[in-house]
Assembly symmetry: C2
Homo-oligomer: 389 residues x 2
């Protein structure tokens, strides 16, 4: 086990009706709140009204900023920063999924900086602190409700999507009511589910040999997702299954599953280019790239892929043919994603092979990617090629 | 899944040599530190010197209070409170195992109260805040390095052992170097291991039907312990195994395994009386009581005990004879504890059956105990009777 430093101070208020007390939670951090959200969905389903009512009941002064889109843009972040400064906001409440939370995180650090907030993402200046941030989570996927990361896009000069990590980026609290996810479309539910599984898989494939506990914890989350994700697609209003997926999404990415081990993140890097070039949903890019990545790298550590097949997918361990066992695990991964309605190839996603070189170039523009296997540009080209059809 | 509120803000600094930077961590919370510890062990193995050196390097003003014993006494806690007030201590550093940490927690709350600190344990006054507290952990067992609980004993009027729980009782940080546990005697290692497993088992046996994720997480920790505990007894200086046990001990009791579910704690209550009446090691009392408790209650939920047997102990599931499968899991539990060198009966522990009535009376003095099955006095008598030989 490797040395590590870990803390996840976020407080979780999980369960039915929990959003109805969000005002009291926000009030612990200040009187002037910026409510940050996306589009009309939360207005249609009544969540907006319930949150506003609770905030007003708590006597809070409310400023609003809606309009966050998928792949949250630095433009709106800048607007939020100005608003916070003008209104002397003391605490931000993000109501939505990962994009809204990430946008709120960027606002929360930008408020304390005189220069342009994009400087943080360019690593020109170090992050030091974030304004108090609460979350009402509506989509289990990115894990941003407890993670130390924010991903923001700058579309001004080409499309730059940049991630930033710092311990201060963890929200102070997250209100998580699984009922709020009942109305998520099947595609978004499935894509979110793949994203959750990917956060575990990026940690599961490690070069650290001694990590039994975190291996087992990873397997616990993956097996739960494998069981519950088809249930929520079949029965969108199954509270128990929605609750399992929602809590799994937090544990998958709050960092506990990475304690003491190296991680990979190659599939994420490969997938990010698909998002950047074709505006694909993050989870869908992962459904395509993860099995292709696995097929490309499994021979470097057959034993781990055998363990994955057996302990995650319940594949019978053919001890005389480990490669067969390993491949069966990868096969099951892809078929699972396919059965969820996710694309598992470029063809499924309706995209061609013509920009593979460009994507591979971009993917490795800062050097090789991936901690399990270092992927150079040529590796990325080959992996993308296996994803074509 | 039940509604829950959960946060564990403790920061973990885990790994080799981590205690050598403890001064810099303490300094974040204040300049005047009370170093609280037990007996001579940390002086003999050099830990005391390394900690003191790091604190001095950080320029801290040090006050010391040693002498914490197993089942930490309220007397020393009061002494610590006076010392903190007199020396205007700003942060406490507990160097030791659960007793030292629990004693430090009690000091940390007592400092802010004008009356007698025992009032908190009598629930006469509510806990509100605790002085900043850091830990250098030397024994993986109680989980106190991250838990919201302290257990203190008052030996003035009979022997009263009282627990207190509050979110403010979680330490701010915990330095965890598995090497510090190399020198633990086998008996203490085993008893600590049983304690760790018990913290999971008390949560595993739940009446909440929908809790797949936490079931699996519990199983992950239990199976890790089942594999690694015999390794550390066989090879006390096996870093990897010591690290697994140490980190498992924290996850077992930081509360995450109880999220969304009811818990039991009947075995703990039964065991506490053995400690009170015979001054037995906590882990040893659990090794006796847990299998006996299981045998007494398993028929109320055969399915869960079948799951326990199969998913924790790898018992083959005899689907036509679930009771046989369930009993095999309980049998394996007891044999595992026995193989660790723990007592599994009163006879093993050298105690008789003569105080069973008294213990059962005491155990239920505030009413029935246990969340999985409510145990009245007569139930406790019967369980104790099965433990005699």
């Amino acid at each position: 086990m490797r040395n590590f430093r870990f803390a996840c101070p976020t407080e979780f208020l999980f369960g039915k009706d929990t959003e109805q007390n969000v005002g009291a939670e926000v009030k612990k951090y200040g009187k002037k709140v910026l409510v940050h959200y996306g589009g009309g969905h939360i207005r249609k389903n009544g969540l907006y009204d319930r949150v506003m009512e609770s905030l007003k009941e708590a006597g809070l002064e409310i400023t609003e900023l809606g309009g966050v889109k998928a792949n949250p843009d630095i433009g709106l972040v800048r607007e939020g920063i100005e608003l916070c400064k003008k209104e002397e906001v003391e605490v931000i409440l993000a109501v939505g999924g990962g994009s809204v939370i990430d946008s709120a995180k960027a606002i929360g650090i930008g408020v304390y900086y005189e220069g342009d907030v994009w400087d943080f993402f360019l690593k020109k200046v170090p992050v030091e602190k974030m304004m108090p941030l609460g979350v009402v989570l509506t989509i289990p996927a990115t894990g941003s409700e407890a993670s130390n990361t924010t991903v923001v896009t700058n579309s001004e000069n080409g499309c730059l999507k940049r991630a930033l990590s710092h311990s201060c980026l963890r929200p102070d609290f997250a209100v998580m009511n699984p009922e709020l996810t009942y109305s998520l479309p099947a595609y978004q539910t499935a894509a979110g589910g793949v994203d959750i599984m990917s956060h575990v898989l990026e940690r599961y494939f490690t070069r650290e040999p001694d990590c039994e506990l975190t291996d087992r914890l990873c397997e616990a989350v993956l097996r739960t997702m494998i069981k519950q994700l088809p249930v929520v697609l079949e029965e969108p209003e199954n509270y128990g299954a929605r609750a399992e997926v929602m809590w799994a999404g937090t544990i998958a990415h709050n960092g506990i599953l990475g304690t003491g081990r190296s991680e990979d993140w190659g599939s994420h890097m490969l997938g990010h280019e698909l998002s950047a070039f074709y505006d694909m949903t993050h989870g869908a890019t992962l459904a395509i790239m993860i099995p292709c990545w696995m097929e490309y790298v499994y021979q470097t550590d057959i034993a781990r892929f055998v363990k994955y097949a057996v302990d995650v997918w319940g594949v019978e361990n053919d001890v005389f043919r480990p490669e067969k066992t390993a491949l069966e695990g990868i096969h099951k991964t892809r078929e699972f994603f396919r059965a969820l309605g996710m694309p598992v190839s470029f063809a499924d996603a309706g995209i061609g092979a013509d920009r593979i070189e460009e994507m591979a170039e971009n993917c490795t523009r800062f050097g090789a990617v991936g901690g399990f296997v270092k992927l150079e540009k040529e590796d990325c080209v080959r992996i993308y090629q296996t994803a074509v059809s």
